[in-house]
Symmetry: C2
Subunit: 274 residues, 2 copies
């Protein structure tokens, strides 16, 4: 059955989710007001129908999916609810269980908790959308046969996403911080030699972390804060991800730098720390 | 040439260093006053000569090696200097460059900075003793042909050790904290399933981190604080290792528990956080 879905917003990940829904025959719209040319290009490539304002878009859809930076997730939910929307609302963002509960309180009965693990959906088997709550099965069915592997779980999808990103993005930030420390202490050559003896793959992993996270660091900062809050609420140390948030904040300006390597990241981190 | 060396103290690591020195013909002593039966047993097994007090021991050696928990390193150096010793003093402990400089100031001209990487030296190629400073070559020569691979570096051996342990022990603490968080949030099964899809080896790594760090966590707490101080002095985030210090402090009581597994570690971390 074809659904009418509003996708907020077609960033790299959101556009790939929208394209998956389009490919399985759903009507997918997006709101073009105040969005960049880059976003317009991505939405067009994903074959999403443009509508100028949120208010008009909400009059012609029964479902909304929110895919946005974690710091914007509550505002997006509120603006949708304040516009009178009472349909199915999927929050697929990297937010803490507490933030997810806030969004659920705003949205009401139509709320579905989601968490995306993996890269933008461009090949089979790489991107999973975890969904939890009463309407999770219904939302999962939209993605049948698409590049998005939608899976319902009987636990909190947001908490699952927090725990998952806690390791991937937390350990990347840790290894970048250590490379910066080694440079600042003049022990970089000795450290890399020792890693090559006893931590095989770690030099390459730190190089890959620099290239892989640099374009995305600007939005990891908020995600790390959501994870830190999740640890804190559970009575566990929040420092790993407060530090990771600091590292990614230091790297914000690399968003527009093409192919920033480890030397560039180290230089930025050492400069931002002074 | 045979050297006369005082080893302070024969813990697991220290005893293996002492045994290596004995095996290459050096006279190695240790101070038995106030030490446990366990330490006596290890020292005897390593063929070290027992002397009752520090003062008497220092009258018959030209060299001292300090291998002790990082929180004790300054006190050990001070007690040796206060006893009038003016020979070669190797601090082989996991301390920050700042703590190492404090020890250098106490000890004077005979100071050699060291950092041990790897397990206690029981097989070839696994344990490296990095050494820096004017007397580093002289100290390295004591270990020729032994199970300890002594290497001189033209950078700070302490800083190298900090950077190295920052990853190994920091990432182990991170993964243990995440396992505890997942349990507290009821998402453990879902997380482990996802790790098995997209992070091969990580489930096993977290299980191994529990078993591997539990008996040693009591002394990692102080080492993580030294690392946090190293980051802080460099203008980099200290939170990763403050959090790691909290995790290992929570695990202190596992010192005497045989083969503590991940369930045991998670239960302890969740109980200590409340």
């Amino acid at each position: 059955m074809s659904e009418s879905i509003l996708l907020l917003h077609p960033g790299e990940m959101g556009a790939s989710i929208g394209a998956a829904l389009r490919a399985s025959g759903h009507a997918v719209r997006w709101v073009s007001e105040s969005r960049s040319d880059e976003t317009r290009r991505r939405a067009a490539a994903a074959d999403l129908a443009s509508i100028e304002t949120l208010e008009s878009a909400l009059t012609c859809v029964e479902n909304v999916i929110s895919v946005c930076p974690p710091g914007a997730a509550v505002d997006v939910a509120r603006s949708v609810h304040d516009s009178g929307f009472r349909g199915v609302y999927v929050d697929a963002n990297a937010v803490s269980p507490a933030t997810s509960r806030r969004i659920a309180d705003i949205v009401g009965d139509g709320f579905v908790d989601g968490g995306i693990i993996g890269p933008p959906a461009r090949r089979p088997g790489a991107t999973r959308l975890y969904l939890s709550g009463d309407l999770a099965y219904q939302v999962a069915s939209w993605f049948e046969g698409t590049l998005v592997d939608a899976r319902t779980v009987d636990c909190s999808a947001s908490a699952l996403k927090m725990c998952y990103a806690a390791y991937t993005k937390g350990s990347s930030a840790l290894v970048l911080a250590i490379r910066a420390l080694a440079t600042s202490q003049g022990v970089e050559d000795a450290l890399l030699s020792e890693w090559n003896i006893s931590q095989p793959g770690l030099v390459a992993r730190s190089d890959a972390a620099a290239r892989g996270t640099s374009p995305k660091a600007w939005r990891f900062e908020g995600e790390m804060r959501e994870i830190a809050a999740t640890f804190s609420e559970a009575g566990l140390p929040s420092g790993f991800h407060e530090a990771a948030s600091d590292i990614y904040r230091g790297m914000r300006e690399l968003k527009s730098v093409k192919d920033a390597d480890i030397e560039r990241v180290v230089a930025i981190l050492l400069a931002s720390g002074k």
